[in-house]
Structure formats: C-alpha cells, structure tokens
Amino acid sequence: MGAAGPLFRDSPADRAFRARWWVGRGVVYLVLAAWALACLFPIYWTATTSFKMAPDVMQGHLVPFVDYAPRWLGWRSLGLSPDTLGAESTVREEFLKRFWNSAVIALSASALAVVLGSLAAYGLSRFAYRFGPMRNPDISFFFLSQLILPPVVLALPFLVLYKELALLDSRVGLMLLYTLTVLPIVIWIMRDQFASIPTELEEAALVDGLSVWGAFLTIILPIAAPGMVAAFILSLVLTWNEYFFAALLTSTNAVTLPVMVASQTGSQGISWWSMAALSFAAILPLILVGILLERYIVKGMVAGAVK
C-alpha cells in the first residue's frame, strides 16, 4: 500500500452495507455484554461485599481498592480470614461440617445414580425386556416419568418413613433421596449415549468370547465415559444445590450448606459481609466446576435434545 491509498475502492452501496454490518456487530456485542454483565454482576457483588464494612455497604461502594479498602470482615465472621485461620473457631467448624455434608451427599448420590442409571440405560438400549405388560418403551417411560414427580409429593411421606427407619437427619437418607431425584436425568443422558455406540462393537467382543457383562465393562464403558462424566457433573450440580428435601429432613447432624445459608438469611440484619462470605463460599465450588467442566455440563444438557 502506497501513500496514494488503495487503487480499488468499494462502491458507495458497498460502503453503506459495511456500515450496517458494523452497526449490527456493535448491537450483537452490546447485547452479549449486557447479558454477561447481568449474569456475572451478582457473583461479583457477592464476592466484593464479603470484603466490605458497614459504611461501604451503606454508601454503595462497588469497586474494591478504588471505592473502599477491602477488609477480611466477612471471612473473619466465618473464621476463614488469614488472622483467624490458625485459631479455634466454632463458626468455621460448623461451616466445614456443613460443607463436608454437602460434598459427601452430593458426590455419593451422583455416583450411585450414575452406576444405577448407566446399567439401566445400557440394558434398555440393547435388550428387549418384558415385565408383565411393560415393554422397553414403557420401562423407559417409567424411569423418565420420575422427573415430573414434584419433590413435595414425596417429602411428607418420606418424613414419616425416615422417622420410622431412623434415617431422619442422616446423610444416608438424604443421599438415597437425591439419587432418586437425579436418576431419571442420568438415564436420559446415558440412553442417548449408548444409543450412539454401534452394537457391532459388542458383537465383535462376544464373538471373541466375552460375556455380555464383560463386553459392557471392558468395551462399552470406556467409550461411554464422557457421557457418564457429563451425567455425574450435572447430578452434582443439582444435588449440591438441593434445598427442599434437606430443609425438611435434616435438623442438626446432616444439615447441608444450602440449609445453613437459608437459616442465616433471616437472622442477618445489615451485616451483609458475613452473609456474602457464606453465600460465596457455598457457590464457589460450582462456579469452578462451571468454568472448568463447562464442556461436560453442556454435553449433559443437550443429550436427547438434538436428534
């Protein structure tokens, strides 16, 4: 390109088109940025509020270091600030106990659901069953229809049943219920996953002398692993966040993190910093999961949606 400028110029009609294209781009990015702001601001707000003091909250300061000097106030109330980390703290112990409860229940329920669901989905995708009048589509529908069941229908009978079984306020009881709530989703995802694996693979394995279970465990499972991870992660998200059953069925021992957050919500006046710290600590694990494992979550959610 010389100083004389380009030899060929776009015609005015093309340049008008160009301008329209730029405006279009601008609008697209503006909308995207606006929605991204709507999605991220509450998280940013919670994270920054946990470092605020009362005057900062009242004056509506938003940007740390610029508007206000961040303090460890919120985290100190949880016993998780640098200066309280070494010392004994009953609040921190309580928080860690709830956190641990949530982790154990969510992980074990998701694992159990993935095991049960994968087996059932594999069977339904490969073999023809007959339980009385029920054939494969009916059995599939029986499993998937559990998704429609609102938790409130099961909540009160379970309250009474668990009381009789001495499972009230226990991790096992909650884990079993959570497994039930995510099982249809796992079966939904895994059925889709197994349907995409050609049966020729197992046929070859069977010819080579493996049993049905041998072929499933050694050939199919490794291929279906991404789907299982997707189902597991999605189950994890749902069970970690579950509140309704936990609120009804736990009281002291097996209380999960959402219940702890909820019980603090009402009692706090304007000490937003401690609530913010607690909320942020509760959502942080899943934010990390969302950022790092987004691929699997998306895979799990679109299973069965697109044929």
């Binding site: 697209v28 909308v31 995207l32 929605w35 991204a36 509450p42 998280i43 919670t46 509020t49 009242m58 509506g60 938003l62 049960l116 087996l119 059932a120 069977g123 339904l124 490969r126 073999f127 023809a128 599939s140 499993f143 559990q146 429609i148 938790p151 409130v152 009160l156 009978p157 379970f158 009474v160 049943l161 009789e164 079984l165 001495a166 497994t179 049966t199 049993s211 499933f216 970690w240 966040n241 509140y243 309704f244 959402p258 219940v259 957050v261 909820a262 937003w272 909320s279 509760a282 959502i283 934010i287 999961v289 969302g290 950022i291 987004e294 959610m301 679109v302 949606a305 697109v306 044929k307």
Partner: protein, 368 residues
C-alpha cells in the same frame, strides 16, 4: 428405538440343571419370605402384640436390601444368559419402586387422615374431610393460579433464550467466554441466589438494583411491595437462573442445522427475518418443544427462591404450590392435609403434562 427383539442379539444355549433351578428359586423366594416375616414381626411389635423391643424399622429395610441383592443373583442362576440381561435393569427398578411407589402408596394412606404431628392423639382416618377443606382453601387455589402465571412466564424466558442462542451461534469472538458466563447462573444454588439477589441486591435502601431504580426515577423502590411486582421479581430471579438451560439446548439445536439450508434460503432471496421464520424456526421446533417441556417440569418444582425470599408474601401473591405445602408442614405440622394437597397437585401435573406431551407430539410431527 425399536421395540421388537434385542438390538444386541445374543445366541445362547443355557442348559439349566434341576439343582441349579432349585437354588435359583431358593435365592428368589427365600429372602422374600424372610422379608415378609420380618415385616410381619415388626408390624406386630409396633402394635404391641409381641414385645421385641425394636425402636425402628431398620430390620425390614435390611431384609429388603438382602432380598433385592438375592433376587438379582437368583435371576442369573435361574435364567442364565437372560438373567444376566435382567440384572442391568433390576437394580434401578428395585430402587425406584422402593423409593417412589412405596412412599406414594404410603402417602395415599396418610392423605385421608387428620394427622398433625403436633397433636397427641395420632392419626385418624377422616374420609373426604381433607378434600372438602382443600376445596374451600383459598390459599391453595391462589398458589395454583400463581403456578399458571409462573408457567406462562416460560414463553418470555423461551424468547430470551432463543435470542441468546442465536447470538451465540452467530459468528462472534470470545464465544467460550460468553457461553461460560451465560451458563454460570445455572450453577448457583437457588438459596444463595435468594440472598445474593433477593435479599441484598434488591434491598430497598442499600441494594445496587434499588439504587439503580432510584437513579431511573423510581422514588421508593420496593421489589416485593405490591403483589404484581413481587410476582414479577420472583419470575425474573427464576428466569435468571434457568434461562441458560434452555439457551444451551437451543444452541445445540441451532448448531445441528446444516449451513446449506440457510445459505440456500439466502440465495433464493430471503432476508434474515424471513430466513429465521421460514427455515430456522420450523427446524428448531422439536428442540424448542423439548426445551420448553423440560423447563416446565423444573418450573413446577419452583420453591427454594420463594421460600427464602418472600415466604409466599405479600398475602400469598408469590406462593407456589410447593412453598405453600412446605409452610403448611413447617408452621402447622399438618402432615395429612399437606400430603393430600401434594397428591392432588401431582394428579393435576400428570394430567396437564400428558396433554402437553400429546400436543407437542402433534406440533413436532412433520407437516410436509
């Protein structure tokens, strides 16, 4: 999916000997007899007919687990190769039956009692009294009406989700960043969202959104003051959490549409608006229906946000059926009545969802 015959066809020759068959029968029926015996003993013990000194029903639970495991093993012994196939589905089936069918039947038996956990007299069958009470309960029907409004709001959510999916599917930079950012609200626990948005950002004095509203000239912003505004606020918060779910599904649908189709439409002289309505939207109909149906299922369970932000107020304007029954139990320990309300809700949901699915089926069937 085909229904006739196995997809994976296995030819087997199971010669099952008589002793093996006998062992299989023992494995299937023995523990079942044990289970029934234990249950019977426990029932007698609970009635006080015999004194075993049991404090809970755990033995019956263990007997059920033993029977379930033994039933699976028995199938393999009894039926050979066919049994091995059954074992794929049996565990999930036994689990679901134990966790859903049994409690539902049990729920039906308490739905027609006046059981209040706080009362000392225990439970008594009271026939249709609960139904009559429900019929005259304005708060229950009010909650039901709210549910209709909440479900109707899905149409708006769907439009937003579709718009965002279209934007994400177009040629943009930093797509991964936007996709992750848009997905994050779905990761957050509704309880935390209740505090983050409902209790702090919308707080009338110091919340940033209240400040913003004041900046726009709303003198005394109160997001939960009047019934209409409170309901709208709950709808917005719930939409904020769940729009990503529909968006991701619609995005997958958009990406599955072959480019040739939209290009052909453009070559034929269709503008973007016409291309969307004549090509993209009809092709997206099956995905849209799936996304909306799944969203409706999740919407019908809406409770966490309502319980934690408004507790149903003001005056029941934001109540969902679930949150209403939750309070019926929490505040009044009314197990019998609450269970009946829940079961009526379930029946209504099943009827409505069946009708919707029939409708959806007709809608997505190819017309040409």
């Amino acid at each position: 999916m085909t229904t006739q015959g196995d997809l994976l066809h296995v030819v087997t020759r199971d010669a099952i000997s008589a002793p093996r068959r006998a062992l299989g029968r023992i494995l299937v029926w023995g523990p079942l007899a044990l289970l029934l015996l234990v249950a019977l003993l426990q029932a007698l013990d609970a009635r006080g007919v015999i004194g075993l000194g049991l404090t809970d029903w755990r033995p019956t639970l263990y007997a059920y687990l033993l029977w379930a495991a033994s039933l699976c093993a028995g199938q393999v012994v009894l039926k050979g190769e066919q049994g091995k196939r059954l074992v794929f589905v049996l565990p999930a089936a036994l689990f679901t039956v134990a966790m859903v069918v049994f409690p539902l039947v049990f729920g039906l038996t308490i739905a027609f009692t006046d059981w209040n956990l706080a009362s000392l007299t225990g439970r008594h069958f009271n026939g249709l009294d609960n139904l009559r009470q429900m019929w005259a309960d304005p708060f229950y029907w009010n909650a039901m009406g709210n549910m209709v409004l909440y479900v109707a709001a899905i149409l708006v959510e769907y439009a937003i989700a579709f718009g965002l999916a279209l934007l994400l599917a177009s040629e943009i930079r930093a797509r991964r960043f936007f996709r992750v950012a848009f997905l994050l609200p779905l990761m957050l626990s509704p309880v935390a969202v209740s505090w983050m948005i409902g209790k702090s950002m919308l707080e009338a004095r110091f919340g940033p959104l209240a400040r913003l509203a004041r900046g726009f000239g709303w003198d005394n912003p109160s997001f939960f003051g009047t019934p209409e505004i409170a309901r709208a606020t709950i709808m917005v918060m719930d939409a904020w959490t769940f729009v990503p779910l529909m968006m991701i599904m619609l995005l997958a649908g958009l990406q599955a549409i072959p480019r040739e189709l939209t290009e052909a439409a453009r070559v034929d002289g269709a503008g973007p608006w016409k291309t969307f309505w004549e090509v993209t939207f009809p092709l997206m109909l099956p995905v849209s229906v799936t996304a909306v149906l799944i969203r409706i299922i999740f919407k019908l369970k809406l409770a966490d946000i309502v319980i934690n932000v408004t507790a149903g107020g003001p005056g029941g304007a934001t109540d969902t059926v679930t949150s209403f029954i939750f309070r019926e139990y929490r505040d009044r320990s009314n197990v019998g009545y609450g269970t009946l309300l829940a079961i009526v809700y379930l029946v209504l949901i099943v009827v409505a969802m069946t009708a919707l699915m029939k409708l959806a089926d007709r809608l997505t069937r190819p017309r040409f």
